[in-house]
């Protein structure tokens, strides 16, 4: 409940105008429905009393004209509804996404390694538009029914108070029914997330171009298919179970409703035969009872399912978005391009003290007590086999992981209290697993430092540093060329080496204080690698760099080589020092050297 209120108040504040408009439109339209019934009463009475006697009174014509007005109003209302629906929902969707995305940035990266979190994340992602739908439905239902129910109850009170009891009992039964069924469907859809995720994963495999190759050569298609079918069958099976439960409840409430309706008609018949009221009133009450009960049913049905069903989705949404207080929202909603680019960010040193780190769900530590001191102007290379903890260390270093043991001090201050954004500002990062967005080359590069987005010089320098000039030159559109086909059919596909250079360029963007490169040349061939490395020190111009690699050639560029093995730093020093130590590095170096002899 708290979560729903939290979200609702934010949305209300965000688009108050629209909501007010919607409320007016719906309340008005619901009154029309009652009005029609009231008109019917007069028309019938006119017909039975006057017209039967061959007279047509002025009142009758007034009634007919009222009909016309009602029709016209309902057209206008339809238009307003459609318009408000489109505008409002788009606006709220964007708003909800915005909060979610901004929060995403603040979520520490290790959480993305938790299976439960992954499930919750995709659950919420798939349901962000639920908020707009929910609020819109709530407003529609509340305001298009409240007036109906209220005014018909007033008319009941005047002509047949017994009907109020009827309406009230319908409400109670419907309410109970909705609470039960919406609980069932919420729990069911939560239970199905995993199967749905598996389904989506498998469906994705069938279109993946890499899988296409393996499917053809390894004949694993049948296997994928059987998995997929099994998963579908399981989904359907669960669906049946839920449906059966729900249908039982539906039937029960349906029977009760029919019985109640039966009683209400009996009450009316009793009234009209005892001449408590005339035929017109009978027709009106008869119509009103239907309108009022359907109003009550949709009101209780949806409001309850809102509170007990949809609101639970809000809870998940809230759990991911929260805790995020007023100040954080204000900060999050502030466009990051507005951040002060000239803020002082001079790097002097960074100190890692006894760092330990364990991945969620993992049984062993990825880092087992690492000490590292990084000084300005140094090039440090972290060298080690796959799985030795190099990348993990880099993520602790850059503040992506926060749940580590030990201390990280940036310029002497512990980073655990600092906002993430102010840590990142020191870094230019080329991660090992990168994403190339289906945007222009320019956009992809400038994502490294969005503040400098429109700075052509900066962009050109970054591209030059990464050796990208001939890539850009290849395309007629230059750096405006869109990458990938997803966004534009004219997009181009880059090779692995070319993509890696784009990531490299984005790391260079804005001349960061610390350059953090994780296997930056893995798919760049040796000849081009030499070109990139040749001028590395010049390019860096006194700034600091951390190079993560398993390649010795790359490591030799560094002032200091840090050797990692099984989550620990085993050796540290310059190339010559390490060779003289005759330890792990020397062994690795000599073995590899032998390959070329």
């Amino acid at each position: 409940m708290k979560q729903t209120v939290w979200i609702m108040t934010r949305v209300l504040r965000y688009c108050f105008k629209y909501i007010l408009g919607l409320v007016l439109v719906f309340s008005f339209s619901s009154l029309i429905r009652v009005g029609v019934n009231f008109l019917n009463r007069n028309v019938i009475n006119e017909l039975t009393e006057n017209a039967a006697a061959g007279r047509i009174s002025v009142l009758f014509f007034i009634c007919l004209i009222c009909y016309l007005v009602v029709w016209l109003l309902s057209i206008f209302q339809g238009y307003l509804e459609a318009f408000a629906n489109n505008l409002f929902r788009l606006k709220v969707d964007v708003f909800m996404q915005k909060i979610f995305m901004k929060k995403s940035v603040q979520i520490t990266q290790e959480r993305f390694f938790e299976t439960d979190f992954q499930n919750q994340y995709s659950f919420v992602c798939g349901n962000t538009n639920r908020a707009s739908a929910y609020i819109f439905n709530l407003i529609t239902i509340l305001f298009s029914n409240i007036a109906v129910v209220f005014s018909s109850v007033l008319l009941f009170a005047k002509y047949e108070p017994m009907l109020i009891a009827y309406a009230f009992s319908v409400m109670i039964f419907q309410g109970v029914h909705t609470i039960i069924t919406s609980n069932i469907s919420y729990n069911a859809s939560k239970k199905q997330i995993k199967a749905e995720r598996i389904g989506a994963y498998l469906a994705g495999l069938f279109v993946d171009k890499r899988t296409a190759k393996e499917m053809r050569i390894y004949d694993c298609f049948k296997f994928f298919m059987s998995k997929w079918e099994y998963n579908n069958e399981r989904l359907i099976h669960e669906r049946i179970k839920i449906d059966n439960k729900q249908i039982a409840y539906n039937h029960a409430v349906e029977i009760i409703n029919v019985l109640l309706r039966f009683i209400s008609i009996y009450i009316l018949l009793f009234g009209v035969t005892r001449n408590k009221y005339d035929t017109g009133t009978f027709v009106m009450l008869f119509g009103l009872a239907e309108v009022c009960v359907s109003g009550i049913r949709s009101l209780t049905g949806n409001v309850f399912s809102g509170i007990f069903g949809d609101a639970k989705y809000f809870k998940d949404y809230y759990e991911i978005v929260a805790p995020i207080d007023k100040k954080q929202i204000a900060e999050a909603l502030r466009n990051s391009t507005n951040e002060d680019p000239d803020e002082e960010r001079y790097f002097t040193d960074m100190k890692l003290e006894n760092i330990t780190f364990t991945y969620p769900n993992a049984d062993r530590q990825a880092l087992k007590g690492v000490d590292l001191h990084l000084k300005r102007g140094e090039i440090v290379s972290i060298l080690g086999y796959n799985g030795s903890g190099k990348t993990t260390l880099s993520k602790v270093l850059s503040g992506a992981f926060t749940e580590y043991g030990g201390n990280v001090k940036l310029n002497g201050n512990d980073i655990s209290g600092m906002p993430k954004a102010s840590i990142y500002r020191y870094f230019g990062i080329a991660p090992q697993e990168y994403t190339i967005f289906s945007l222009s080359i320019r956009d992809n590069v400038s994502l490294g430092c969005i503040e400098k987005m429109n700075d052509d010089d900066e962009l050109e320098i970054a591209c030059q540093k990464a050796g990208m000039q001939n890539i850009i030159g290849k395309f007629p559109l230059g750096d405006a060329t869109i990458l990938g086909k997803e966004y534009s059919p004219d997009g181009v596909e880059l090779s692995g080496g070319e993509s890696q250079r784009i990531i490299l360029a984005s790391a260079y963007m804005g001349s960061p204080e610390i350059l953090l490169l994780d296997e930056p040349t893995a798919s760049i061939d040796p000849i081009h690698e030499v070109e990139i490395l040749k001028n590395f020190r010049e390019i860096l111009s006194g700034k600091t760099a951390v190079l993560i690699s398993h390649r010795i050639g790359f490591a030799r560029l560094a002032d200091r080589i840090v050797i990692m093995k099984e989550g620990r730093i085993v050796e540290e020093g310059s190339h010559d020092d390490l060779l003289a130590q005759n330890g792990f590095y020397a062994e690795m170096f000599n073995k590899q050297k032998k390959l070329y002899e």
């Binding site: 017209a51 029709w71 505008l87 390894y218 079918e229 029977i255 059919p489 798919s523 050297k593």
Partner: protein, 604 residues
């Protein structure tokens, strides 16, 4: 032609529905008729009551009618709900079957077609086509059929009262429909314009919600930027929405005007008949509600027809996809000989479909079953392309690839691909179990098979790791779906993929297309050595840009810009003065000499 398409698609849908579930269509018809009965009862009910009351009838009689009508309504609603539930599951099953057929088709299609840039659009269109045409049978048998019944019934009431009413009702409805069709066409044009934006929006949304993207979102300002892009898109979309809403408004106004004419006319006629004493007050009520029912029924029918009209196009997209030729699979029917000796590339040139530049030019070489071959060269030299040609994923633009003198395309596709166990550069690992990643359910899970599997794991050096796991080969791979899943390091993953190649039954030829790029040279060398020592009854082909790791090959082919530059053993190639191989080799080995050191010292 167009008629044929409509007929073809509708027949296809009926056939598919019948095949998936024989009882679907009877269910649909029954549900539709039941709903119609409900509608008719609700239409007659108020009039019946009014007629009793105004006729001074007894309350008991009215009570009987009320009771029986309500009971009927309950029974009908039960039946309809029951049928709907069954139908809903049928719908899901139908969609699943069609999706399954489509996936099978995808698997059988030419690889070149899949790699085509327009492919993903074709796939999406066809996939959309399934969903957007899946209700065809429903509309045909449930909606249209039952609405026709309703229209006939109301028509009967009208004709009894006054024929002119029926005529006016029809005329206004048809006019309204014609205008509506016109407006829908305009809206459709707008939507087509909007489709580009919608696609982009979809991409942005998918990207924004991609966990892998979000994981790293904190490193850059991607979120803010993508959201900004989305906001701009929303503006463009809103413009189209506004246009369409205006059209909606026009449509509504026309519709309302028609309704007005219809209503006024109906009321006037009814009034006239009533005053003339030809119409009872109860009939008056019935007459008015019949007019409403008829209009509703007509519009629902028109909507259903409209749906089917659209669905035919969507279904056609699907059928078009299903009719994409499978030439690569179907050409060639020779049996592959049990023993073969020589593979030959003869003047092979290749350019990717739709491109003008050649990736491979005039490539000729032969390799014998007892030779180990290495193909080396820079990125983009055409190494991986060569593998794809060999595996019949693509066809050479010119020239031939021959196995024992016979073009590989003349062999039966399945037999031929069964010969090879390649490990691709961009190999996939799957979030199934560890064992399934190796044998894909192809091997029966007998005790002997498991022992064989462990033998393979021993070869690639994974045995200890996997036997240490409590669930062994049944351990889920990756944590994507299971928190207890195991995550392999890059090196272990590569070994796993190599084990998969070893486990492929009956495949005597191995191809390693740089699966070891992220390993250190030593590890790559060891893996290559390992494969060299244990594998390949037939052909063994290594591809690498690291020259140190393929030194041992009997024959090394150096590719440069798609052309074979040099060929020979390591010793031969090192003997060439200013040779490409030699130059590359020197650069790579310089990391281990003082060359680089001097270079970087100079920079210091």
């Amino acid at each position: 032609m167009r008629k044929n398409k409509t007929l073809k698609c509708i027949l296809f849908q009926i056939k598919k529905s019948y095949k998936t579930n024989k009882s679907e269509i009877p269910y649909l018809i029954a549900a539709g008729l039941m709903e119609e009965a409900q509608n008719m009862l609700s239409m007659l009910f108020p009039a019946a009551i009014l007629s009793i009351i105004s006729g001074g009838g007894k309350a008991q009689k009215a009570l009987i009618i009320v009771t029986s009508v309500n009971l009927l309504l309950v029974i009908f609603s039960f039946l309809v709900e029951y049928a709907s539930r069954a139908l809903c599951l049928h719908g899901i099953r139908l969609v699943n079957t069609m999706q399954l057929d489509m996936n099978r088709k995808t698997m059988h299609m030419n690889y070149a077609d899949i790699k085509e840039s327009s492919y993903i659009n074709k796939y999406d269109t066809a996939s959309d086509g399934i969903w957007k045409s899946s209700d065809t049978v429903h509309y045909l048998f449930r909606v249209i059929l039952s609405r026709v019944v309703m229209i006939s019934a109301t028509l009967f009431i009208f004709i009894r009262v006054h024929f002119a009413v029926a005529a006016v009702v029809f005329a206004t409805i048809i006019f309204d429909y014609a205008m509506n069709a016109h407006i829908v066409k305009k809206q459709h044009a707008n939507d087509t314009e909007n489709a580009v934006y919608r696609n982009r929006q979809k991409y942005l949304d998918d990207t924004l919600f991609d966990q892998n993207v979000q994981k790293d979102a904190s490193f850059n300002s991607a979120n803010a930027f993508l959201l900004h892009k989305r906001k701009e898109l929303t503006k463009s979309i809103l413009q189209v929405v506004r246009k369409n809403t205006m059209l909606d408004f026009t449509d509504n106004t026309i519709g309302a005007a028609c309704t007005l004419v219809r209503t006024v006319f109906t009321y006037l006629i009814a009034l006239k008949q009533y005053i003339a004493g030809k119409l009872h007050i109860a009939d008056f009520l019935l007459f008015i509600s019949a007019a409403q029912q008829m209009t509703d029924a007509f519009f629902q029918m028109v909507n259903a027809a409209e749906y089917i009209r659209k669905a035919v196009n969507y279904c056609d997209d699907y059928l078009k996809y299903m009719e994409i030729p499978e030439t690569d699979r179907t050409e060639g029917n020779l049996e592959v000989p049990k023993h073969f000796h020589v593979l030959e590339f003869r003047n092979v040139s290749f350019k990717y479909p739709g491109r003008s530049e050649y990736v491979l030019r005039n490539l000729s070489f032969t390799v014998n079953t007892n030779e180990v071959m290495a193909i080396v060269g820079d990125n983009g030299a055409g190494k991986s392309t060569l593998v794809k040609l060999l595996l019949r994923l693509y066809k050479p633009s010119s020239g031939e690839i021959l196995l024992d003198g016979v073009s590989i395309h003349d062999y039966r596709y399945d037999d031929y691909t069964a010969l090879f166990a390649p490990v691709f550069q961009d190999y996939m690992t799957y979030s199934f179990t560890v064992g399934e990643n190796i044998y894909f359910g192809n091997t029966p899970a007998s005790a002997g098979a498991n022992a064989d599997l462990y033998k393979i794991l021993d070869k690639v050096g994974l045995k200890d790791k996997i036997s240490a796991l409590p669930e062994g080969l049944d351990t889920p791979y990756t944590k994507r779906f299971d928190p207890h899943g195991i995550v392999f390091s890059g090196g272990e993953e590569q070994r796993l993929v190599i084990a998969r190649a070893f486990a492929k039954a009956g495949a005597g030829s191995m191809i390693l297309d740089e699966p070891t790029a992220s390993l250190d040279p030593l590890a790559e060398y060891e893996i290559n050595k390992l494969i060299h020592s244990v594998a390949a009854d037939d052909f063994l082909i290594f591809i690498s840009h690291r020259l140190s790791t393929t030194k041992f090959a009997d024959k090394i082919i150096v590719l440069q810009n798609g052309e074979p530059a040099e060929e020979g053993s390591h010793a031969d190639l090192m003997g060439l003065d200013n040779g490409i191989y030699k130059t590359m080799y020197c650069i790579q080995s310089s990391y281990y000499t003082d060359e680089t050191m001097r270079m970087s010292e100079k920079n210091k």
